[in-house]
């Protein structure tokens, strides 16, 4: 199985593409650094006991006053910027992943049902999707966040903020998946293997799940990869605007916002490093998605 996979066109085209290899390595490094943050990070930015205001706003190691203890310097609370980035990446990636999974589940379900059932069900679901598509995703995310803030009690809201963000970003991104899945489903449902399943009397949910779903997943996974980068950016945007995660639980967007206050007083490292991290990570994910799209497109082989 593994040997067969390593011998496939897919792996061959991967090896031949330096962009794909490099961006995969970068994404892997981000994931390892983020997931392994509790063990790999030099400091724990959440451990208030270890923070000292004496360490605040130290420059990175390559500048005159930098120390090796804080490679990328510290922020105004004396938190190590490198460690904060690692923990922040963890949160950003997690929200991005969960939001995309949520959007995938909703989008694939709606797309499959609309495409397979057709008729009035299809018309209704697709009009809902169209209406949803006319709103910019960041606007929907802001709206959901605002409603959540108004409805939920404050301390509960702070604890639930990650899930509110996941919901807000996911609900803004599902229509693309729904449309793609519906399009592929329309093609697949007319194929004779679906008819063969109908002749033996399989139920519609079973045909959708076991026959059509595996055949429509390919294009969706490409869009999911591209959207993962965008979802991470959505989260960063919301956090930067101050409606995302609180400073006690900083994501990359929160770090950039906090650091933004010090940009003009010369402590550029507090905001630039998380910004570079975000840019590099999203760029790599998008390049990977681009390559995936081409690699899975048989016409470009």
């Amino acid at each position: 199985m593994l040997a067969r996979f390593l011998d496939s066109d897919f792996v061959y085209s991967f090896r031949r593409s330096p962009v794909a290899v490099v961006s995969t390595l970068v994404v892997l490094a981000c994931v390892v650094g983020a997931v392994g943050a509790p063990w790999l990070a030099p400091h724990n930015p959440f451990d208030l006991a270890s923070l000292s205001l004496m360490d605040s706003l130290q420059p990175p190691v390559f500048m005159a006053d930098g120390t090796a203890a804080h490679l990328l310097g510290t922020d105004d609370q004396g938190r190590d910027v490198l460690s904060a980035i690692m923990y922040g990446t963890q949160i950003s990636l997690m929200i991005g992943f969960l939001a995309i999974i949520f959007a995938l589940v909703v989008g694939i379900t709606v797309g499959l049902v609309a495409g397979y059932m057709g008729g009035a069900v299809d018309a209704l679901l697709m009009r809902v999707t169209d209406v949803q598509l006319t709103f910019p995703s960041i606007l929907i995310a802001l709206l959901v966040d605002g409603v959540a803030r108004a409805v939920l009690p404050r301390d509960f809201h702070d604890r639930m903020q990650i899930y509110v963000l996941v919901f807000a970003i996911g609900i803004a991104r599902w229509p693309q998946f729904a449309r793609t899945v519906r399009g592929s489903t329309l093609v697949e449902r007319g194929r004779e293997y679906v008819m063969a399943a109908k002749v033996i009397g399989l139920s519609s949910p079973r045909i959708m799940a076991s026959h059509i779903l595996p055949n429509v997943l390919g294009p969706v996974l490409v869009i999911a990869t591209l959207n993962l980068g965008l979802a991470i950016l959505d989260e960063a945007t919301l956090s930067f605007l101050g409606v995302g995660l609180p400073p006690t639980q900083p994501s990359l967007g929160t770090l950039i916002r906090i650091g933004n206050d010090f940009l003009f007083s010369g402590e550029w490292w507090v905001t630039i490093f998380p910004g570079v991290m975000l840019a590099v990570m999203v760029l790599s994910i998008n390049l990977l998605g681009d390559w995936l799209r081409d690699a899975l497109n048989p016409r470009l082989r």
Binding site: R191, E192, P214
Partner: protein
């Protein structure tokens, strides 16, 4: 088999319309009525157990719609289809009866799910009808089925794309046989295959029919294929069966002008150099069929009656023909 009747499938006056209207809003704006395509028009036939009824006709004459009506993929707009003496929809709601019908499709590249292994494809009906429970039994049965259609049991591990068109059609047949049916609808099973492979598949189907006592509804546009397979033959034109009778009789002594036109067009070594009547004209649109006999715009024998009055089916010897010219004796030339 508990309930066995002499006739496996019987269709009486079956008509199927398709709604081809434009979307509601456009229709209202233009002030247009609903439009229907009459794909199958007043078709009747009966298939006795263990025999093959073949339907031939040009593209778009409604053959495939008949095939889908026969397994209940479509419901008839009017008329009655009975399977083993029961109404088809009632028969299809019982797993025990539904199991006894299956279908073989035209395109061996679209009829097998590309993401499934062959053993899962062949085992799907077995699992759907819970014919066997243990994985070992299912594996053994799948191996047996694959061997029966001339493949190796080990081929079950592969995916469909690893097979040629003919091999895929064998897989398709193995799947159709796995529910142990006694009625198979074959919708142009060989038209996508090379001529050399067609013969193999047809011989396999004949052999299986003799061994397992299968009943076939065989759809094709290829007269040579039909001659090889058919016990009874129906010739379809624009949704209607214009001539139906024992296969050899229809071939040797064609009565309907359309059947004659089709048979004249078959390439034949004895006829080299002989001038032929070409199959002229186009099939009219089934959305807007001509009045009277649907064949009259292309028929040399058409007269005023043909242009107005739809011909009824009339028995001539062993054959049923729907043609005014035949009934009036104008056809003998």
């Amino acid at each position: 088999m508990s309930e066995t009747s002499a006739v496996v499938l019987e269709a009486t006056g079956v008509t199927r319309l398709f709604d081809v209207s434009r979307p509601w809003l456009q229709r209202v704006l233009v002030g247009e009525k609903r439009r229907h395509l009459r794909a199958v028009d007043d078709v009747s036939f009966a298939i006795p157990r263990g025999t093959t009824l073949a339907l031939v006709g040009e593209s778009g004459c409604g053959k495939s719609t008949v095939a889908r009506l026969a397994v209940g993929l479509y419901g008839p707009s009017s008329g009655d289809i009975r399977f083993e003496g029961q109404a088809l929809s009632a028969a299809r709601s019982q797993a025990a009866l539904r199991r006894r019908m299956n279908m073989i499709f035209q395109d061996p590249y679209a009829s097998l799910n590309p993401r499934w292994r062959v053993r899962d494809i062949v085992a799907e009906p077995i699992r759907a009808f819970r014919l066997l429970s243990s994985a070992a039994e299912i594996d053994a049965r799948v191996g047996e089925l694959l061997t029966q259609v001339g493949l190796a049991a080990a081929d079950g591990e592969k995916y469909p794309h690893e097979f040629s068109g003919g091999q895929r059609q064998r897989i398709s047949i193995a799947r159709a046989l796995s529910s142990e049916p006694d009625f198979l609808v074959c919708d142009e099973p060989t038209s996508a295959l090379d001529v050399s492979v067609q013969a193999q598949i047809l011989n396999l189907m004949k052999e299986l029919q003799q061994r397992l006592g299968l009943t076939y509804l065989f759809i094709s546009h290829n007269l040579a294929v039909v001659r090889h397979m058919a016990d009874r033959l129906g010739v379809m034109y624009l949704g209607r069966i214009v001539e139906m009778g024992p296969g050899e009789e229809v071939f040797r002594n064609p009565r309907h002008p359309y059947t004659r036109m089709l048979l004249e067009a078959i390439p034949d070594l004895d006829m080299v150099g002989v001038a032929r009547t070409p199959v002229g004209g186009e099939v009219p649109s089934p959305i807007n069929p001509p009045p009277g006999c649907p064949f009259h715009p292309r028929c040399k024998l058409a007269n005023d009656r043909c242009r107005v009055e739809k011909p009824a089916h009339v028995r001539v010897g062993e054959v049923e023909v729907a043609c005014h010219a035949v009934q009036e004796g104008r056809a003998e030339a």
